[in-house]
Symmetry: C2
Subunit: 201 residues, 2 copies
Amino acid sequence: MNKGRLIVFSAPSGCGKGTMLGEIMKDERFRLSVSATTRDPRPGEIDGVNYHFITREEFEKRIENGEFLEHAEYCGNLYGSLVNEADPYLEQGLNVVLEIEVQGAMQIREKRPDALFVFIAPPSMAEIRRRLLKRGTETPEVIEQRIAQATMELGYAQDYDYIIVNDALEDAVADFFTVIRAEQVRAPFMSDHIEEVIKNA
Amino acid sequence: MNKGRLIVFSAPSGCGKGTMLGEIMKDERFRLSVSATTRDPRPGEIDGVNYHFITREEFEKRIENGEFLEHAEYCGNLYGSLVNEADPYLEQGLNVVLEIEVQGAMQIREKRPDALFVFIAPPSMAEIRRRLLKRGTETPEVIEQRIAQATMELGYAQDYDYIIVNDALEDAVADFFTVIRAEQVRAPFMSDHIEEVIKNA
């Protein structure tokens, strides 16, 4: 059996990342890696589902033990992806999606050259603005901060392997599965088959 | 408008390359590049359709002029792919498929780093043998020569970008189009879109 693929999945806010991941996770070949954090659970959040909620002391000990694929501090809290969250699934042949922001992604680029990097981009910033306004949960000031943040994040898009524009959700999800299928027939992943054919010539 | 993609397409004999290309060419976004050769036309072959039939003198002059993407001598005849056969289509946004053998392909690797390399592999050598026997046009000796040739060519498969196994024709053709679609969203090909989004933030 082939090992699964580690997939780093990043998107600026307003790019429909959550909805896309919801669709992708309907496919049983995929698992979403649950991040660890030192921040307190919000009402309704479940330990081990939304996040692994751990103390700062434990988080720092695990950093020292090399248990994180990546980690970052954000608004005074630590967030990170645990190696043991992904590897057992990969061994079972399942693909593991890490939903992380650009800086965390770049840490993984160095540690895991076998990972696949997918960036979700908006059709335009005007569209992001429209989506965030429609949500109605943020003030105009916060929306402009999100736009500035998104612009910064887009500057990292070229460091990913693939850039999928989420204009229509269905097309974006289809593009994601297309990329996964194409990656399966990239030459390095086909070497076992070729060796087998030559051996039994 | 985006430029088309130059696609180098190679397969050992018995891998169903001709049938696959027939299916691919039903899609109007693709053109098959016609090779030039110094060999004589066989009955039924049409100049400019099957090959561009030219004299050895003209072929050699065109090599000197740098008009070939690749060329090779085979059984005393020259074969090659002309630059001006592909480039006008690429400029029009059409994808051009070059059906060539492994050594010619490797010449293009150096000259055109933008080209996409697709290798078609058999499910097994036993299957190639079965297909060639079924055709009934070759002697057992010639079939074994073909098998030896195919084994040599498989040794180059890892130098291609993608390896598609042609077990069931429909699946292999679908894989080809999957690869083409995925390649369109590879990061370098999406840079114009990202720049546009950032510029109009």
